[in-house]
Symmetry: C2
Subunit: 216 residues, 2 copies
DNA sequence: TAGATTGTTAATCGATTAACAATC
DNA sequence: TAGATTGTTAATCGATTAACAATC
């Protein structure tokens, strides 16, 4: 669907989930048609930007009419790969790992937690929902035997690179990293970081300088 | 410290925590001097960008020498407001709220969780570490009586705006929002969102299109 | 002092916005 | 058909990179 050769910028990619979220809300309200101008008012991007963004992936609108909400929602889901199912494992079964294991919305979107791993013998063998916490020694074996796509790193920063190395060796496809460190990962493995403290420190900056963000 | 009138872009602000993190690592290694060129190699920004970024806030370097690691680390901490102490409350005492309450690194950086709130009677009265889970009906009263600076919203999306409204009424200074929705907040209240599903969907896009990120 | 490296200005690059012809 | 709104090109704006004089 993406136009030939054009390289989509990360700025555009990171806006896509937000489009999808607002389109879902419109769907829930039973609205089945929207113009870039109307969408602009509720989502806060300019109408021009909305049209530019969407046209990176094809002409989803119709002149004189606007966009079909259901169709556009569906298309953006496909662009994001949410029509796929991904098998995931969570490494680090502390509070954060458990929070993610319990968060069923990810599962609804196709990200299935198959197992959790920890080094703490007190946690090994427990289950979160129906997801077993296993010994971290078995990560590589488990990935290979169970077709795991994504590894979610919820360890402390000291263990994160070791875990990442195991994931890499086992031919994982992507890593979602919550450890407060930057991981070394080969180019063919996709990496997305969630650096919570960087987000908190940004809020701290804004508080200190009493400045609202211009963008979301 | 910030130069008069110049408005610092969010892009710069969001890089500051990363500078601080790498400088901390250098400190731990006992390195007390670094040039923009050397820092560039380990942090991955261009040397030019590093110098530009830092010069938004003043001349911290010395020609022919570079930057003093300890001093720069300290300065960036101050710029981020990490020399302050913030009182926080966590609203929503589910797994995510508990994970944040248990994450002592935030406390070390000056963000003190004073109380948690929930509407679930089974949770009310429990303690996470020494942080009590209280009835969400008491949020407004508690904020006013305890000098709370930051509200951390860990509820589901259905309750998030209601909670935000209570925080706003109680003159909170900042909101750190983990609920998967955009909040309506007046301009004088600082808002920082952590939209986990947007991050996960971005990873999904990268997997589908097998593309590494050019940045971070 | 000579060499190194900053601070800062200028050039480039990329992303956003504006404008409008195409067309439903 | 006339009006509305897209898709797309051109203009603008902002952020990044390059270059180099200042200076430690």
């Amino acid at each position: 669907m993406q136009k030939s050769n054009t390289k989509i910028s990360m700025a555009v990619i990171r806006r896509l989930p937000k489009y999808r979220r607002y389109l879902e809300e419109l769907l829930d309200k039973g609205i089945n048609r929207i113009s870039s101008r109307e969408l602009s008012k509720i989502i806060g991007f300019t109408a021009s930007q909305i049209r530019q963004d969407l046209n990176n992936f094809g002409g989803f609108g119709q002149q004189g009419y606007g966009y079909n909400v259901a169709a556009l929602y569906e298309e953006i889901g496909k662009i994001l790969g949410l029509d796929n199912v991904y098998n995931t494992i969570i490494i680090g079964a502390g509070n954060l790992g458990q929070a993610i294991a319990n968060y069923t919305n990810f599962e609804k979107a196709g990200f299935i937690p198959k197992a959790m791993f920890d080094i703490n013998p007190r946690l090994i063998g427990l289950k979160i929902r129906d997801i077993e916490i296993m010994d971290a020694d078995n990560i590589e074996e488990y990935i290979k035997e169970n077709n795991i796509d994504i590894g979610i790193i919820c360890t402390d920063k000291e263990h994160a690179q070791d875990v990442a190395d195991k994931l890499i060796k086992s031919n994982i496809k992507g890593i979602w990293n919550f450890a407060p460190t930057d991981l070394n990962v080969p180019e063919h493995i996709m990496l997305e970081n969630v650096h919570l403290s960087e987000s908190l420190y940004t809020l701290s900056f804004l508080l200190k300088h009493n400045r609202e963000q211009e963008d979301v």
